[in-house]
Amino acid sequence: MTAANNPGRERILERIRAGLRTAVAAPAEAASDAMIFETIANPVERFQEEAKANLIDCLMTSDSAGSAQQLAQVLNSLPPGEIFVQDAPAVRRLIERSRSQRPVRWSSQGGPPEASQATITLVEALIAQTGSILVSAACGGRGASVVAPCHIAYATRDQLVPDLETALGNASRQGILENNSFACVISGSSRTADIEKILVQGAHGPRRLVVIVESS
């Protein structure tokens, strides 16, 4: 947008600068260095607790065989139909080991179709403080974590970080937003309480979020 077709830009900036010439007094109580959140002693335990509170199915596995077995069980519990899968070597191996017979549409072929029964993606990080997963566009695209009724996220335990501060700090340092047009901290399935504050899952996005966390 050039200055010629957005003349309001300079006028707004002028008004802001003129307004800011009047200094304001500092607040009576300045921000302290007090701890805002509790220190997380056991991130794995905390992640599991918070994930449960967020109504996430958190499946801890010790190896890739265990992960494939868990994935197969989840897929067997879903109605028949195509699944959308992030096209990444680790997920291809997982799908192969699960021996799923479902038709697969890979993220390299485009976004997830509306009729997908489930999506399977990797994550950028797991966040213990809030029981969340961090995904980016690299994790199968934007729709991969929101279009289907079930989202299955596949992670390893070394992706676990203690809190949001660490997750967002790492995202900044690793250039996740520089390299992707999208990132999202997901803390459960899609939900609403807009009717009489009664919680209903699956408002517009997944009714179910499954996170498979492998030990290594």
Partner: protein, 469 residues
């Protein structure tokens, strides 16, 4: 008295007497109160979190030009577009032109108070573009042709039976038992078609992040995700005051916003959008536009006393705790932003026609006590009252009454005599059966309430007796 003020008095009297409405709000607020308190307990130090958020917003607003320019630079570097709109007209014109250029017929919109403020949906509607509100609460009030009732829960004023009836009339489908699960499923089915058909998605922004050029949106339903993922054009519309310096600031702002808004630890989706779809990405919009709306905000910035009003993160906590809001509800205010924050902000954004809102408060200070960014809301209501009175926007009679009051307050004996005279006069008046008549100074109070019994003795004489004993 202005028309807006007359409407306010009429609507608030009507709503506060509507017992069904009050029961719905009471239930909602009880549920919110419990969640909010539980959410606060999850913090080691809630007050420290509030101070941190205040500091973040203070830094951002007091360096607004620098952070907005940094944000703009980062958005443009990633292939996005930024438009600065001085007012609603410019913002709507830009988005309408964009929609026409892309041949847009359908727009899906996630919840955004700024788009309500600039009246974007009617502007697009005039061009024959169908706009779908996709947040469930917004969808419900859109079907009722109503503005949102609350900043966070737009359909808080309706119960499941009313929503069932609305869906039956407007969508032609019945949910006989009014089960919320089935009502939500029905809305999901209808809106899914819109998500996949829309050419343009419009969102607001809870925050815009200067150091990463990202728009941060907090949603629970996932409608914000779908609106910004599926259509080929995404437009984020936001006030200029929403900028924050750093991505890591969200580590405090996100949990505090969620706790204050709904009592959740964090909202389900904390989405960061930093441009159009990149090469190699599976999906996402081909174009990404951010519309930065001023609409009176820079004027408020120049008011050093009230500048901190721009720190507001629109969590709705001040509405939820306000005894006035809890009785008169969101629509009575006749403004986009209701409750204490709306009463402070609206006269600045929309002029003196809304000066009366500064008096729509008991000045109890509850709003200030819960504000997650520590805005001194009740004092700002007083500042507004003072400013409007100083500007001569009061009646001659009111000014005289206050002069007399001030004179009496400065002379204790005169005040005591006045009090005694008033008590005697009222006793005679009530003995003559003229209570509630035109001669009764308490007649307005008595219109909707039981008469207050006259005390036998004044507070002054009771105080003296107490001191002697």
């Amino acid at each position: 008295m202005s028309t807006a003020a007359q409407r306010f008095l009429r609507d608030s009297a009507e709503k506060s007497a509507d017992l069904v409405h009050r029961e719905i709000i009471r239930k909602n607020m009880e549920s919110y109160d419990a969640g909010h308190l539980k959410g606060r307990d999850r913090f080691k130090d809630w007050e420290a979190a509030r101070r941190r958020c205040q500091e973040i917003k203070r830094e951002a607003v007091n360096h607004l030009d620098q952070y907005l320019l940094q944000f703009e630079e980062n958005v443009i570097a990633r292939g996005g577009h930024v438009f600065w709109a001085e007012d609603s007209e410019q913002a709507c014109a830009y988005i309408c032109e964009l929609a026409q250029r892309h041949g847009v017929k359908t727009v899906v919109k996630s919840k955004s108070m700024v788009t309500e403020e600039i009246e974007l949906a009617p502007a697009l509607g005039k061009l024959g573009i169908k706009v779908w509100e996709t947040d469930l609460g917004e969808y419900i009030v859109q079907l009722r042709h109503e503005p949102p009732y609350h900043i966070v829960t737009p359909a808080m004023h309706l119960n499941r039976g009313q929503i069932r009836d609305l869906f039956r009339e407007q969508l032609g489908e019945d949910v006989p038992d009014a089960d919320p699960q089935k009502l939500v499923a029905l809305a999901r089915r209808k809106l899914r078609q819109a998500f996949f058909a829309a050419e343009m998605g419009i969102s607001g922004a809870n925050f815009i992040v200067a150091d990463s050029g990202a728009v941060a949106i907090s949603t629970n339903e996932g409608n914000g995700r779908l609106s910004t993922s599926l259509p080929r054009v995404h437009v984020a519309v936001t006030g200029i005051e929403k900028v924050i310096p750093r991505l890591t600031d969200l580590a405090t702002l996100w949990p505090v916003l969620a706790t204050s808004g709904t009592g959740q630890p964090v909202t389900t989706y904390g989405t960061l959008l930093g441009g159009p779809r990149r090469a190699g990405e599976a999906d996402g919009p081909e174009e990404f536009h951010v519309v930065l709306v001023d609409n009176g905000r820079s004027r408020l910035l120049a008011n050093a006393e009230e500048r901190e009003v721009l720190h507001c993160i629109r969590c709705g906590a001040c509405l939820n705790i306000c005894p006035v809001y809890r009785h008169i509800g969101g629509h009575s205010y006749g403004t986009i932003y209701p409750g204490p924050i709306g009463s402070v902000l609206t006269p600045h954004l929309r002029g003196s026609e809304f000066a009366h809102l500064s008096s729509a408060s008991s000045l109890c200070g509850a709003c200030t006590s819960v504000c997650p960014v520590r805005i001194d809301l009740h004092h700002h209501l007083l500042h507004n009252r003072r400013d409007f009175a100083s500007a001569g926007q009061t009646k001659w009679r009111e000014r005289m009454m206050f002069k007399m009051w001030r004179a009496a307050m400065a002379r204790p004996r005169l005040y005591a005599m006045g009090g005694e005279l008033m008590r005697c006069s009222l006793r005679v008046l009530y003995a003559l059966g003229l209570g509630g008549s035109v001669f009764d100074p308490m007649r307005v109070w008595r219109r909707g309430r039981a008469p207050v019994p006259l005390p036998k003795e004044s507070f002054r004489s009771l105080w003296k007796k107490e001191a002697k004993s």
